[in-house]
Amino acid sequence: MLSNIIETAFHLIFTLDKDLIEIITLSLKVTLSALLISVFISIPFGSFLVLYRNKFQSFVILVSNTLMGMPPVVLGLIIYTLVSKRGIFGFLDILYTPSAMILAQTLLITPIVVSLTYEEIYKKHKDYYLFLNSLNLSNFSKLRTLIYECRYALITVTLTGFGRASAEVGAVMIVGGNINHFTRVMTTAIAFETSKGSIELAVALGLILIMISFIITLLIKSLRKIK
């Protein structure tokens, strides 16, 4: 039976099954959009926190570190209450749309990317602050140098964010609703298809997720070597 399931799963993958491709495409769209938004905000912000060190900065890092471990379902619930019809952002009308899913994933990975960026930039700043101060550079110039010097580490941070976002199920299930052909992504589809007994599609999606995870791990490993 298991061999039949796996055979069918591979068949779905190699024949580029329409539903499978649709789910994978939407998953990648949502995750990459969230990642792009998050990285665009988090890398400059995490770096900024290193150079402007004060009590506010310590508080932000504390909050960010705390949010790193936030259960996705709780985050999903918070976003749900905010964007549902009765919520304060209800007027946006984004509940059960890919936009809400992007918002959930963005909020989920932003603390991770901020904290990891801060750690990497902080280490580099410790190595370089005398040199950068000796050159009398502006803070903007220092930030550019530090981000460039941490480029491989920051790509690793980005990949970590991608990995976290692509594997997430709780929050996108709550705010996306897992609507077929509209908000169904890999993780929610796996949960749904398994629950209704359609294991083949779930296994095919699982294999794709494992493959994505494998590629990310491989990339992180090779970047660590370059570092």
Binding site: Y128, L130, S134, L135, N136, S141, E149
Partner: protein, 231 residues
């Protein structure tokens, strides 16, 4: 812009309860090499950093021909005891500083590389350079933009005699081009060879500030006598 005399008027620096520099008073007109010497933990590096503006001087105790450090900072550079280089090639490290100092001269980086005789390591990543090579690259980076003052923190302490000689030659050539050098050193023979003036620190206080020749003939101060005899 004139840089001398450098005057330090009652400068003190502490980290928490630990006093690193205590009531430092210096008035120096020496144009060539001033050595900052003293036993370990006497505050040599801290004094160098303070003179370079890497340590806050809220009471403006340090002035260069009546100019504040902020005004003079553009004319200064520093080479640290453990050379700080970016994770780039030698060429890119030098290019980085040249860009930051806005040196527009054509082939400037190549000229610096030739001047310091580091052409053979120009394309090597700084992480893979030896201690002496790193020191030479750091000095190459420090002379970009023709600074009037260069601070060197024990630039030869970890080097073999050949590299030491090479670095000393570079330092001497800088002085010939009217660059004022402040350099920390533990090496009495080196102090004799290249030093003109010496500032000697003991437990964060200046206990001697004068010509190297006078310092070497100092008979009364026990700390200095021990330093010279064991050096």
């Amino acid at each position: 812009m004139s840089i001398l005399p450098i005057k330090i008027d009652n400068f003190s620096y502490a980290i928490g309860d630990s006093k690193i520099l205590r009531n430092i008073n210096i008035d120096s007109k020496e144009k060539k090499i001033t050595i900052i010497a003293g036993n370990n933990g006497s505050g040599k590096t801290t004094l160098l950093k303070a003179m370079h503006g890497l340590i806050e001087d809220p009471s403006n105790s340090i002035s260069w021909a009546n100019n504040s450090i902020k005004t003079i900072k553009e004319l200064q550079s520093m080479v640290f005891q453990n050379p700080i280089l970016l994770n780039r090639t030698t060429f890119e490290n030098i290019l980085y500083v040249a860009n930051k100092k806005k040196t527009n001269e054509k082939n400037y980086v190549n000229k610096i590389i030739e001047k310091l005789n580091i052409k053979d390591i120009a394309n090597i990543d700084a992480r893979y350079l030896s201690g002496g090579e790193k020191q030479k690259v750091a000095i190459a980076m420090s002379i970009i933009g023709n600074p009037k003052i260069i601070f060197l923190d024990e630039p030869t302490s970890q080097l073999d005699p050949v590299y030491k000689h090479e670095i000393e030659s570079i330092i001497s050539s800088l002085v010939e081009n009217d660059t004022k050098i402040f350099m920390t050193s533990h090496d009495i023979s080196q102090i004799k060879r290249i030093g003109e003036e010496i500032i000697f620190l003991d437990k964060g206080r200046v206990i001697f500030n004068g010509k190297v020749k006078e310092f070497l003939n100092e008979k009364t101060n026990k700390v200095i006598r021990n330093y010279i005899s064991y050096g």
